[in-house]
């Protein structure tokens, strides 16, 4: 049956729940495009024959192949679009620098799109207020400026606003400005300790 490969790509993507990004299925995409090409060519020969010899009986077959072409188009567009949604989410969850194992799963065009997205988000944030506003901060309304955090893993040295450098060592606890550590908490380096 036609369009099996395209459906398989969608199924693989759907199986990765909670917005995880699977490796870009370049091979699958190429196979789908090849199938579309051969469907198109077969349709062209049949259309020419139907026109030249007036064979109206070929029309149902042409329509069937055309439906398959549209289906493949839908699957591929949905595949690429859903991946973009996932990549966009990564910017909000990880911050502007992605870890290598995540970047590894993206194709060249997606990396390019990500950097464009990063840039437009940054210029939007700069345009807000008098000197910019980071909209990825304070997703939950803050109750205090400083919070108690505990390190979940070794992260190395970390500099805060007043120039003090602190060492983020596993299991050490610190009292830090909230806006400085929000991203590290989201990345799972620090843990917010509630008293």
């Amino acid at each position: 049956m036609f369009c099996e490969k395209a459906a398989e790509m969608i199924r693989d993507l759907q199986r990765m729940n909670e917005g995880q990004l699977p490796a870009f299925n370049e091979d699958g995409l190429r196979q789908v495009l090849q199938e579309m090409e051969s469907l198109y060519e077969q349709n062209q020969t049949d259309v020419n024959e139907a026109k030249a010899e007036g064979r109206a009986d070929l029309i149902p077959s042409i329509k069937l192949r055309h439906t398959c072409l549209l289906r493949n188009q839908r699957c591929v567009s949905a595949y690429l679009y859903d991946r973009l949604l996932r990549i966009r989410a990564l910017r909000w969850e990880y911050g502007s620098v992605l870890p290598a194992n995540v970047r590894f799963h993206m194709c060249a065009e997606e990396l390019q799109w990500f950097s464009h997205y990063k840039k437009s988000l940054a210029s939007f944030m700069r345009s807000l207020g008098s000197d910019g506003l980071d909209v990825t901060q304070d997703v939950k309304p803050p109750k205090s400026l400083y919070i108690q955090v505990r390190c979940v893993k070794d992260h190395g040295e970390f500099e805060i606003d007043d120039g003090t450098v602190i060492l983020l060592k596993k299991n050490s606890q610190h009292f830090l400005p909230r806006w400085k550590c929000e991203q590290l908490i989201r990345q799972g380096v620090l843990e917010h300790v509630m008293s």
């Binding site: 070929l58 149902p60 969850e93 194992n101 929000e182």
Partner: protein, 211 residues
């Protein structure tokens, strides 16, 4: 409550399909029994049981929903789409008798979705199908809502097992509401937490390292 920045395209409601929705694409991959009412020249290889060059008129075969929907025409007779057996009279009486006992996951898992899509094909049974779908949903909804609002810190796999995809999504949103409320009551709503996406990635990395 955990905030998710990845929001997938929602599936369409009722008879509508959402073009970019992964759920709807998988739903339209479901196979339907059809009978051809015209010949399809040069496509014999699609029908494995025969080795003729064409698909002759009157062949019974299974086609995915998207193909049947694309080929079906009201005015011209190209395809006759038959009802899958869970929507037929016999099963409808079962659903009407007690919708709570049926395992919709096994029968679907897109029972409501596929049922609504069947309404695109003109059939004298359409009003009955629509009515049964609605009554089944109403009959089961109370139980779905009740269990999703009361299973806190429990293993929900037994509760979810027999639900249709649509009901599962409802169950999930009920659970996230319940968990959000509970964490607010305990004063944890303002606690900053690691993103579930990041945590999942880490879990997988550990799993990758282990042989």
């Amino acid at each position: 409550m955990d905030t998710q920045s990845y929001l997938p395209v929602e599936p369409g409601v009722g008879m509508e399909e959402n073009y970019f929705s992964l759920d709807d694409i998988l739903l339209s991959q479901e196979r339907l029994p059809v009978r051809t009412e015209t010949a399809f020249p040069r496509l014999g290889f699609l029908e494995r049981s025969s080795d003729t060059q064409d698909i002759p008129e009157g062949t019974k075969m299974e086609l995915p929903l998207w193909l049947s929907k694309g080929l079906y025409e009201k005015k011209r007779r190209v395809l006759a789409v038959e009802l899958p057996k869970v929507y037929k009279e016999g099963w409808r009486t079962v659903f009407n008798a007690d919708p709570n006992v049926v395992d919709l996951h096994k029968m679907g898992p897109y029972y409501y979705g596929l049922g609504s899509q069947m309404l695109h094909f003109e059939s004298p049974e359409n009003p009955d199908i629509a009515q049964t779908l609605l009554q089944t949903f109403i009959g089961r909804f109370r139980r779905t809502m009740d269990s999703s609002q009361n299973a806190y810190n429990e293993d929900t796999s037994a509760l979810v097992e027999r639900l249709d995809c649509l009901e599962k999504a409802l169950f999930k949103s009920g659970q996230s509401g319940l968990n959000g409320f509970q964490s607010w009551e305990k004063g944890q709503a303002s606690q900053l937490t690691a993103s579930s996406l990041v945590l999942n990635y880490r879990k997988r990395k550990i799993a990758d390292v282990q042989p």
